[in-house]
């Protein structure tokens, strides 16, 4: 096991993410799925735009404050920019086809025991593990 193991800050961060998703659900009845919130802006319906922009501005605003307070908490990807670009395209295509990502399926959907989210999460965890493992074996990407 690596010495980078951070169970406490990871758990605390997870609790905050859970609170964030809970606030959006309890106050507004909405699912805090990041890919869905962004995707909904690309083909907006009337009256469905403002909350998405507000959420994302909060997200990026929090990032700016955290980047100033703890710059070491945002590191560069271990992969080259070419791999990062390819990864971005796959994440964009995959999250739209599969209607969600780590937040919408992995947190919100699993909390409801939604069958689609359970299957989706099992699938993206499996292909994520396979990809990370394969790239290390091949020595590729960095």
């Amino acid at each position: 096991m690596t010495q980078n193991f951070t169970p406490f800050s990871s758990l605390a961060g997870g609790v905050l993410i859970g609170l964030a998703a809970s606030l959006l659900l309890v106050a507004s009845g909405r699912i805090a799925g990041i890919s869905g919130i962004v995707g909904g802006l690309l083909a907006p319906r009337a009256g469905d735009r403002a909350w998405r922009l507000l959420f994302l501005s909060g997200l990026i605003g929090a990032g700016l404050v955290m980047a100033a307070l703890t710059p070491s908490a945002m590191t560069a990807s271990p992969r080259t920019l070419g791999w990062v670009a390819a990864a971005g395209i796959l994440v964009g295509v995959g999250t739209r086809l599969g209607n969600g990502c780590t937040s919408g399926h992995g947190v919100c959907g699993i909390s409801r025991l939604a069958p689609r989210s359970l299957f989706a999460t099992a699938t993206f965890m499996a292909t994520g593990v396979l990809t990370a493992t394969l790239l290390r074996w091949l020595g590729a990407g960095s």
Partner: protein, 157 residues
């Protein structure tokens, strides 16, 4: 304040909490994400704690909503009701996982990390938006063509 204004406040507040949580949890460190997914390497299980913490809290919120007809500030809950497992869902999730394991970013951490001003998150988010746009376009085209086919079939019948 009106319910609509509170709805906006909740959206900003949720975004802020989500962003702080992602940074605190370690999700904005792609090498840590890759270290979590690479279970056969120097495995770092920390990120399992992120999911555990988030789900433990959100389960309670979801239980609370089940006893209510509507959320606090809007007319109704927009909770997905589909239960079918189709090829598109599994294919999409599979492709997403490959991208996640490749770059170490999922959508939330990619967007939050834009704040670092580094090239990586910028390239990731731009490519992700491109992927989303192309997919939405293709889905529109495919829906339109299946509509046309449906109409033609209807005429034949």
């Amino acid at each position: 304040m009106t319910a609509r204004a509170w709805d906006g406040v909740a959206a900003v507040g949720s975004g802020i909490l989500f962003g702080v949580g992602l940074v605190l949890s370690g999700m904005t460190r792609p090498e840590k994400v890759v270290g979590f997914l690479d279970v056969g390497g120097a495995w770092d299980p920390s990120l399992a704690f992120v999911m555990a913490g988030a789900i433990a809290v959100h389960v309670l919120a979801y239980r609370w909503t089940r006893a209510r007809k509507a959320p606090l500030f809007t007319a109704k809950f927009g909770i997905p009701s589909r239960r079918d497992i189709d090829v598109k869902l599994l294919l999409g999730a599979g492709v997403f996982g490959v991208g996640w394991g490749m770059g170490g970013y999922c959508p939330g951490p990619g967007i939050v990390s834009l704040a670092s001003g580094a090239a990586g998150p910028l390239v990731f988010v731009a490519a992700m938006l491109l992927g989303m746009l192309v997919t939405a376009k293709l889905e529109q085209l495919s829906a339109a063509s299946s509509d046309r086919n449906g109409q033609q079939r209807a005429k034949v019948v």
